[in-house]
Symmetry: C2
Subunit: 217 residues, 2 copies
Amino acid sequence: MDVEQTKIPQATAKRLPLYYRFLNNLHSQGKLRVSSKELSEAVKVDSATIRRDFSYFGALGKKGYGYNVEYLLSFFRKTLDQDETTEVALIGVGNLGTAFLNYNFTKNNNTRIQIAFDADHSRVGTEVGGVKVEHVDDLEDKIGRVSVAILTVPSAAAQGMAERLVEAGVTAILNFTPARITVPSHVRVHHIDLAIELQALVYFLKHYPLEEAVEEE
Amino acid sequence: MDVEQTKIPQATAKRLPLYYRFLNNLHSQGKLRVSSKELSEAVKVDSATIRRDFSYFGALGKKGYGYNVEYLLSFFRKTLDQDETTEVALIGVGNLGTAFLNYNFTKNNNTRIQIAFDADHSRVGTEVGGVKVEHVDDLEDKIGRVSVAILTVPSAAAQGMAERLVEAGVTAILNFTPARITVPSHVRVHHIDLAIELQALVYFLKHYPLEEAVEEE
DNA sequence: CTCACTATGTGAAACATTTAACGACTTATG
DNA sequence: CATAAGTCGTTAAATGTTTCACATAGTGAG
C-alpha cells in the first residue's frame, strides 16, 4: 500500500527480478545462506552493487554471515508483489508472441498472460501455451481489466493498436515493434527492439574492444 | 580503421542504430532536412540529448537549419559500418529463434544471420526465413568465421552452448536465455531476459506511478 | 541588406549509478 | 575466551548521463 519506496533507483528496480529468480534457485537447491560475493558471481553484478541494492530495503543481511536465503526470498516476494498476480494481454500471436505464450511465466512469477489477440482468423480459437487466442476485433469486448499489454504485432500496426489498448484501459505496454509509439503521459511504455540490440552489440564489438583474447591451454 | 572514437559514451552508442533507422525512413520519404526537435518527437529522446549525441562526431548540423538528412545518413552509414555486413549465427530455432530469422535484418541493417543451428533433427535441413538450419552437433564444422551469435536455446543448454561458441571463435553473444552465462573476458555478452523485462515493467507500474490519467474528451 | 527567426553546439549544473574502502559486527576455531 | 576470518552496510569518491540555457551563426522574407 505505501508508495514510499519510490526512492529506489530505477537501475536497482530492474535488477530485483533477477535477484529474485536466482534466490529461488538457491532455495530450491536447499541453500540456507548466501553472500553478496556468491550472488555476484551468479548474476554478474558487482557485489558492492548488490549490497547497495539490498540496503535500500533496510538491513537484510548479517555481518560476517551473509543473507538468509529464506528470509531474503520472503522479503522480495512481498516487495515484488509476488502474491498478487498481474494479468497481461498479448497482442500479436506471431513467432515472438508464441515464444512469450510458451514461456512458463507462472513459475517464479507474478505475471500471467491471460488473453491473446491476433488479426489472423485461422489462429483465433486455438490455444497457445494454454492461452486462448481471440480476434483483435474483439479486443475492447474481451480485454477486461487487464492493465499490461505485450505488443508483438507488425510495426505498421503498432501505433493503432497502442491507441486502442490505451482506450481500453491499459497503462503499461511492452513494445517489441521497432515503431516508437506515442501514448498519453500516464501510460508507461518500454521498448525492446531486437534489431537495435543486435546492431548495438555489433557496434560495441567493433568499437569497444575488450581485453585481448588469451590463449587457453 | 581508427579506433579513436572509443570516447563515445555507451548510452549514445546504443541510440545510434535508432537514429540511423529513423533517418532512413525520412530519407525514403524524400525529406531533405530535419531538426533535433523533430527527431526527438519521433524517436522519443530529448532533443538536447540528440544534439549532444551527434556532437560527439563533430559538427554535423547547421545553425538555423538543422541537419541535412542525406549527409547525416551517409555519415552514420560509415560510422555504423553499414557497408560491411557482419555475419551472425543463431543457435536454437524455437519460436524466438524463428522470429529472429523471419525478421528482415538486411533492410537498413549491417547484420545478416548466416546460419542457424538446432538440436531437433526434424528441423535440420529446413530453411527458416531463408536461412538453412544445421544440426547443433555440426556447429564447430559449419560455423566458420562468424563472430557474433544469438543464443535462443533452452536455458539449461545455455552455458554449454556458450562455451562451444567461444571455443569456435565467437566473441559476442546476444543471450536470450534467463541463464547468466560465464565466458572469458574477451567475449562480450548482452543479456535480454524477456521475463525480467515484463516483471520490471510491472514493478514500475506499481511503484513508480506516472502522472494521473487525464480524462480525454 | 536588414532583421526576426531558427536551431545548433556546448559549458555548466543536475542527476544517476557504480565502485572502492573500511568500520563494525558475526561466526568459527582452537 | 581470544583471535582470525568473513561479510555487511555505508560514506565518500569516481564515473557516467541527461538536461538546461544561451551565445552564436545561418536562414529566409521583404
